[in-house]
Symmetry: C3
Subunit: 282 residues, 3 copies
C-alpha cells in the first residue's frame, strides 16, 4: 500500500501561495500526517497513484487487526463480490457515510467512486439528495469534504448539474396516489411536511435528471439502513426494485452496508428486507 494521502494533495492545491512547510505543519497538527509519512507523501502525490485509504497507515499504529480486516477482507473480498457493481458499491458507501455524518473516510471513498465510474454530476446529486434524507447538516459536511476532492481532480462548474435543469417526466398517477395517502394520514398533523414532500421531493428532487431514479433509490435505501431508520425501508426498497434494483443487488447492498454502518443496523434491516422480498415474490 503506497503512502499517498489525499488530504496532503488537497492542501497543496488549495494553498499554492503558502510555503509547504507551513501547510505540512498544519496537516500534522490536524493528524493527517505523521512526520514519517511526509517524505513519501509528496512523490506519491506527483505520481497520481490510485487513491489509498490514508488512515490505514494510522491504523497500523493503533489496530493492526483492523488493517488486516480492511486489506484482507473488506477491500479485496467484500468489494469484489459479484451481485453488485463496483460503481453501485461506491454509491452505497458514500450514501452510508453521509447518512452517518462520517466525513473522515469520505475523501478516500469519493476518489474511489470517481475511479469506479461514478460521475461528478452523480456525486453532486447524491449530496443534494442526502440533504433531504439525512438533513442539511450532513449534506453540508459532505460538501466541505467533496470540494477538496473535486478541486484535486480539477472538476469545475461545467461538470456539475444545473441548479434548475429540465426535470424527468413524472408518473402522475403513482404520484397522485402517494400524495393522497400521505395527505390522508398526515395532512392535518403537519401540512408543511406534506406540502414540501410533494413540491420539493417527489415533484422536484426525485425528477432531477443527473442521477437515475434507480440510483436515487439506491442512495435512499442505503441511507435509511445506515441510519437505522427501518420504518421507511419497505416503501423505498419497493420503489428501488420497481426502478430496476434486483433482489440480488439489494441483498449485496445489505452485505456491503454491514461494514460501513455496523452489523446492528443491518440486522435490524434484515427482517424488513425479508418481508419486502417475500411480498414481491408472491
Amino acid at each position: 500500500m503506497k503512502r499517498f494521502t489525499v488530504p496532503t494533495a488537497v492542501l497543496f492545491q488549495l494553498a499554492p501561495a503558502i510555503s509547504k512547510p507551513k501547510v505540512l505543519a498544519a496537516a500534522i497538527a490536524l493528524g493527517w500526517l505523521t512526520i514519517g509519512s511526509i517524505a513519501q507523501a509528496q512523490p506519491a502525490t506527483r505520481n497520481k497513484g490510485p487513491a489509498q485509504m490514508s488512515s490505514l497507515d494510522d491504523a497500523r499504529m493503533v489496530a493492526p487487526a483492523l488493517v488486516s480486516y480492511t486489506e484482507d477482507h473488506l477491500l479485496v473480498d467484500v468489494w469484489k463480490r459479484s451481485g453488485l457493481a463496483l460503481r453501485d458499491r461506491s454509491i452505497v458507501t458514500i450514501a452510508a457515510l453521509i447518512a452517518r455524518n462520517q466525513t473522515s473516510e469520505l475523501p478516500y471513498y469519493l476518489n474511489l467512486a470517481l475511479e469506479n465510474g461514478v460521475k461528478p454530476k452523480e456525486i453532486s446529486e447524491i449530496i443534494t439528495h442526502m440533504a433531504f434524507y439525512a438533513g442539511w447538516g450532513s449534506a453540508m459536511a459532505a460538501v466541505a469534504v467533496t470540494k477538496g476532492v473535486f478541486a484535486q481532480h480539477k472538476i469545475g462548474a461545467d461538470q456539475l448539474p444545473a441548479a434548475m435543469p429540465k426535470l424527468l417526466s413524472l408518473n402522475e398517477a403513482a404520484e397522485a396516489q402517494r400524495a393522497a395517502l400521505v395527505e390522508e394520514q398526515f395532512g392535518s398533523v403537519a401540512p408543511g411536511v406534506v406540502q414540501y414532500t410533494t413540491d420539493l421531493l417527489f415533484r422536484n428532487l426525485w425528477l432531477r435528471p443527473d442521477l437515475a431514479p434507480r440510483d436515487r433509490s439506491l442512495v435512499t435505501v442505503s441511507a435509511l439502513i445506515a441510519a437505522g431508520q427501518i420504518a421507511q425501508v419497505p416503501y423505498h426498497l419497493n420503489r428501488a426494485m420497481d426502478s430496476g434494483l434486483t433482489q440480488e443487488q439489494a441483498s449485496e447492498l445489505l452485505t456491503h452496508v454491514a461494514f460501513y454502518a455496523g452489523w446492528p443496523n443491518v440486522f435490524s434491516a434484515l427482517p424488513v428486507a425479508k418481508g419486502v422480498f417475500e411480498k414481491r415474490s408472491k
Copy 2:
C-alpha cells in the same frame, strides 16, 4: 450572498498575537477558506455584516442544486412560515444540530439565533440541557463551537447563567407522580438511572430559570425527533403542550426539523405526533 465567513473572524479574535498569514494558512488547511475567498473575508469581517452560511460558497462548487434549495426555499420560505416564530425556529435548529452532533453548520445557526433574539443565557442552557438529552459528548462538541461565536460577539461571563441559580418552583404533585411511575417501572432495573432522573433532571435541570420550561420542552422534542428517538416523544410533546406549545407550533416544528434532521426522522415522528394531537383533542 456576501463572503463573510464566521470561522475567519473567530480565528482573528482568538489569535491576535499571531500573524494573519499563519492563521490563514491554518484556516486554509482546515478547509474553511479557499485562497479565492481570503480577500473578501477580511473586509466582510470588518463590516460586521449579518452572518452568512459560509459553507454555501463551498456548495456552489459541489452541489448548485443544494444552494438553490437552501436560498430559494429553506431560508426564504421554510424559515418564514407563520406558525412558529423565528426565535423558536432557531432553538429548534440548534437542538437538532446538537442532537445529531453536526457542528459544521452550528456557527451559522448560533449567529442567526442571536440575531433572532435567543439570548446567550438561553443558548448556554440549551447546550447544558442537551448534555442530558443527547449525551455529554454532543454538548461538549457544541461548547467548542459556541465558545468561538460567543467570543466574536464579546459575550462574557456576565451574560451566562449562574452554575447554581435559584431554581424555579416545582409542581410537587406532578413530579411525585412521574417519579413514582418511573420507580415502579425501572426502580429494580437501574436504580441509578431512576435516582439521577429525579435528582439531576426533574428536580434540577428542568427548574433552572434561564430557559423557560416551554423552551426546554421545545429543545427536548426537537432533539428526540432529530435523533430518531420517538419512544419518548409522547411524554415530552405532551409536556411541551402542557407548557404552552400550540398544536400549530408543534406542527411547524415537524416541518422545520424535516430539513435539519432529514425526512425519514420526521416521517417516523408523524404518527406519534398524530396520536398525541388526537388524544389531546378529545
Copy 3:
C-alpha cells in the same frame, strides 16, 4: 482543575522539527487552545499531570452549569459508584463515544482508560470490535484520535495485539446453534451477511484473545444502547451475562451510559434490559 490539554502534548510530540509557535497557531486555529491557556499548557505537559478534560475550560466560557454537573456529579459521583469498576466504566465510555462518532472527548477518556488499567491492547481491540458494531467509519475516526494518545504515552507496536493471533477456543455447539438460527432466518435474504457474521465475527473477531469475551460483550452492549439499537440488546446482554457480567454491573452500565449517550437512549433500553433480567431470574 489544571490546564493540561492533551492535544497540545500530542502536537509537540508529533511535530518536533517544527517551531512551537507555528504548532500553537494551528492548535489555536483548531479551537483546542485559547491564547490564555498556552502559558499553562506547556508546564502541565512537562509535569505529566493526570489527564484533564481540556474542553471543561471551554465550557466555563459557555455553559457554567455543564461544568458544575461534570465536576460535581459526573466525575466525582457517577464514576465512583460501586457496582461497576473504573476500568469497566472506561470501556463503556469509550465504546459509547465511538458508537456515536464523538471523537472530541475521546482523547480525555482514552487517557483516563489507560490510568484506569485498560491496556493498550484492549483499547486496540475495542476499536477493531467497533468497526463491526458501529461501522468502519466510526472505527477509523477513533484510530485517528487514538494514534495521538498512543504516541503521547510512547505506546509502540510491541504493546499492540497481533493482526492474526492464535484464537480462543470456540464453543462449537453454541456457535452452530447461533449460525443455524441466523441461516434459517436470513440465509435467503442476505447470504453475504450470514457468511461474514459466521466467518469474520463469531469464528474470528470474538475469539481474538486480547479482549476478554466478557469485555467484548461489555463493549457491544454499551455500543448498542449508545446508538439506540435496542433490537440486538437481548441477545448481547444475555451473552454478556453468560460471560460473567452481573445484573448489578449491567444496571450500572445503563446508569453510566445515560450521561454519555443521553437519557432517551437509556430509557429506550430500560424495558429491554428489564425483560432480560426477568427472564434470567426465572
